[in-house]
Chain length 110, copies 2
Amino acid sequence: MSGIVRTPEPPYYAVIFSSQRTEGDHGYQVMASKMVELASKQKGFLGVEGVRDGELGITVSYWDSLESIKEWKEHVAHQVAQDKGKAEWYSAFSLRVCKVERQRFFEMVK
Amino acid sequence: MSGIVRTPEPPYYAVIFSSQRTEGDHGYQVMASKMVELASKQKGFLGVEGVRDGELGITVSYWDSLESIKEWKEHVAHQVAQDKGKAEWYSAFSLRVCKVERQRFFEMVK
């Protein structure tokens, strides 16, 4: 979950998850790593970019189709995490499903 | 640029900007705040969510249409910032223009 993902040519899908954490860890870090690991093995997963700065975090995951997003949403272990998220980890979040239409990459010439 | 944006009902557009900073400030912080301030005054601007954790940052801005995104891209002061970005502030970035199709909000009951 480090750095910029080299996604394929659009169109593909992005899930933008913005969240505000509650105080304390409550098993969050371990579960977060586990979820990234599990998601990476899902069919249609294209990558994930994530940043957390204290309270606010943004995680963007990329997928080949809405069907793949639906399958990940319904994954049993992910559902357990979603429930824990609402009960303990997040004071607020937004989740947006988007179709990526255009992209551009830049790298500084060394 | 704090917290989760209460965007209107989809469809609308999101620009996902993921970036890796170079070392040092080089006037970045001042310009970043100025750009958020300017963008907020643009026609069709719906809000912005941003997080930076050392090297990696993700900024998602929300817009009512592709036309508004284009106008912001071509804003003179923003173009100066874009040039500085490529010349000094970013070692790498990705920029993705997306159509938001679905959204969901959650808030913990106090």
